[in-house]
C-alpha cells in the first residue's frame, strides 16, 4: 500500500487561522506506547543551539505538551544525541519529489523520532519556514521512524525565537511525527503558525492524540502484578479489584433478592 505524505512547511509569515487532522490518509501510528526522540550530532551551525540544548528543549516539549494528555497512551521521551555521520542528514533532501512527499529512503529513521538540523534550501519552501517533519519509515500502517528537520540555513527564523517558542515549535513538529496534521483553530498547538502565548495543548490536540493513541487502562482484577511496572500499574490493579468487588456485591445481593440461593 502506498501512503502519500504531506510535506509540512509550518509557521510562515502571515498570522491569521476545527478539527484535528492527520498527516496521511491511513491514520498511521507508532505501534509502541513509548517513543524516543533523539537528536543527530554535529549538524547544527546557525540555530544558536547545540544538540544537548535541543534535547533539553525536547524534554520540556513532551512534558509540557504531549505527555500531559490523560486519555492518551503515547509517551514521548527525550532520548540521546546520536552519532549518525554516515548519513547526510545535514544536507540531504527529506523528500524525493513534490508536494505530495515521497520520503527519501536514504534518510529513513530506524526507530522513533530523529531531530536534525538541515541547511538544504529545497527542504524549506521559503526562508520563513522553521522546520519540516515526515514519518519516513513506514511498515503498513505503522510508523517505524519519523524525521524532523530544523531549518539551519544562515538566515533561519528559528534562531530568533524565545525558548518557550522553540519548545512549542518542537512540540508542534512532534505532533506531525506521530501522525497529526494541522488544525484550523488558533488555540491548538497544531495550528500552522505561532500565536502570542502558547502554554498547553488545545482541544483539537487532545482529541487528535486520543484518537490515534487511545488509553486502554485494563481491568486487572486477580492478575499478578509485575513489580517492575511501577506504582501506577499497582494502582490499576487495585482499582480493578474494586470494580470486581462491585460486581460480586451486586450479583450476591441480586441472587439473594431473587431467592436463587440461601442466605449466609
Amino acid at each position: 500500500m502506498k501512503i502519500t505524505f504531506i510535506f509540512y512547511l509550518i509557521f510562515c509569515f502571515n498570522f491569521s487561522a476545527m478539527a484535528f487532522t492527520l498527516n496521511n490518509s491511513e491514520a498511521i501510528t507508532f505501534a509502541q506506547d513509548e517513543v524516543s526522540v533523539n537528536v543527530a550530532r554535529g549538524n547544527c551551525s546557525h540555530i544558536g543551539m547545540n544538540e544537548s540544548e535541543i534535547l533539553r528543549i525536547v524534554a520540556d516539549a513532551v512534558d509540557q505538551y504531549w505527555n500531559r494528555v490523560p486519555t492518551s497512551r503515547l509517551k514521548l521521551r527525550a532520548g540521546s544525541v546520536l552519532d549518525l555521520s554516515t548519513t547526510d542528514y545535514s544536507n540531504g533532501s527529506i523528500c524525493l519529489s513534490g508536494t505530495a512527499c515521497e520520503p527519501n529512503p536514504d534518510l529513513a529513521v530506524s526507530n522513533g523520532v530523529l531531530i536534525t538540523c538541515n541547511h538544504l534550501a529545497a527542504n524549506f519552501s521559503s526562508s520563513g519556514v522553521l522546520a519540516v517533519t515526515v514519518p519516513n519509515n513506514i511498515s503498513g500502517k505503522t510508523i517505524i521512524g519519523s524525521l524532523i528537520m530544523i531549518n539551519d540555513q544562515s538566515a533561519n527564523p528559528f534562531v530568533s525565537k524565545s525558548r518557550d517558542e522553540k519548545i512549542a515549535i518542537i512540540a508542534h513538529e512532534l505532533g506531525h511525527s506521530f501522525g497529526l496534521g494541522h488544525s484550523k483553530v488558533t488555540d491548538s498547538l497544531m495550528y500552522y503558525s505561532t500565536v502570542k502565548m502558547r502554554t498547553s495543548l488545545g482541544y483539537d490536540d487532545f482529541r487528535g492524540i486520543t484518537y490515534l493513541y487511545p488509553k486502554e487502562q485494563p481491568i486487572t482484577c486477580g492478575t499478578i502484578q509485575d513489580q517492575s511496572l511501577g506504582p501506577n500499574n499497582l494502582l490499576l490493579n487495585w482499582l480493578g479489584l474494586l470494580i470486581g468487588l462491585f460486581i460480586m456485591i451486586f450479583l450476591n445481593y441480586q441472587l439473594r433478592y431473587l431467592k436463587l440461593r440461601p442466605r449466609f
Binding site: 478539527a19 487532522t21 484550523k184 488558533t186 502558547r198 445481593y253 439473594r256
Partner: protein
C-alpha cells in the same frame, strides 16, 4: 505479593459480608454538568486555560445501605454527545463508578473508583488548511474509538427536602503520574426515588 493476595482474599470476604448485611436501596437519577480536564487545555491564543463549559451529564445509581450512615452506590453516567466546533467530530464520555457514601447530618461524603470512557467518532473527509507558504488538503480519520481510563472519585453531597440532593464529584485521572494527572468535576442535582 503475598500481602496483596492476602488483602484481595480478605476484601472478597468483606465484600460478601457487606453484601449480605445490605438491607435497603434507593434508586437515584442525576442531571448536571461535567467540566472535563479542568485547567489542562488552552482555550485561546493568549494562553487562557479551560475551567468549565456546557457539557450536560446524566447519571443513575442504586444506593445500598449497610448502616444508617454507610452506603455503597454503583453509578452509570454519560454526557450528551456533542460536536463542538466541528460537525465531523462527535464526542461523549461514559462513566461506570462504584461509590461509597458516608452520611452525616444533611451531608454525605463520596469516595469511589471506576471506568471513564471517552468516545470519539469522526466522519472522515478533509480540510484545506494553511501549510507553510501555501495550503494543503489534510485528511480527517473515519471511525470511532474509545479511550478507557480508571479513575478515582471523591465528592461531597447535600440533601435538600426529602427527595432531592446536590452532589459535586471530582474524577481524578492517573493519580500517581504527575504529568498525566487530570481532574474532571461533575456538579449534579439528584432525585431520589426512595427505598424499594
Amino acid at each position: 505479593m503475598k500481602i496483596s493476595k492476602f488483602l484481595i482474599v480478605s476484601l472478597c470476604f468483606i465484600a460478601f459480608a457487606f453484601a449480605n448485611s445490605a438491607h435497603a436501596y434507593d434508586a437515584t437519577f442525576s442531571l448536571g454538568n461535567l467540566c472535563e480536564y479542568v485547567g489542562k487545555i488552552q482555550t485561546d491564543e493568549l494562553g487562557s486555560k479551560n475551567l468549565c463549559s456546557a457539557n450536560p451529564y446524566l447519571a443513575a445509581s442504586l444506593d445500598y445501605s449497610f448502616t444508617s450512615e454507610l452506603l455503597i452506590s454503583p453509578e452509570i453516567g454519560f454526557t450528551i454527545p456533542k460536536s463542538g466546533r466541528d460537525e465531523t467530530i462527535n464526542e461523549m464520555s461514559i462513566t461506570f463508578l462504584l461509590n461509597t457514601k458516608y452520611k452525616f447530618s444533611a451531608f454525605h461524603l463520596i469516595g469511589g473508583a471506576g471506568l471513564f470512557f471517552t468516545r470519539l467518532s469522526v466522519g472522515g473527509g478533509s480540510e484545506v488548511l494553511n501549510n507553510g507558504a501555501s495550503t494543503t488538503t489534510f485528511p480527517l480519520p473515519e471511525g470511532t474509538i474509545y479511550s478507557r481510563n480508571l479513575i478515582i472519585n471523591l465528592g461531597l453531597g447535600a440533601d435538600f427536602l426529602q427527595d432531592y440532593s446536590a452532589d459535586i464529584h471530582t474524577y481524578i485521572f492517573n493519580l500517581f503520574t504527575k504529568e498525566e494527572r487530570a481532574f474532571s468535576i461533575a456538579i449534579n442535582g439528584t432525585y431520589h426515588f426512595g427505598e424499594f
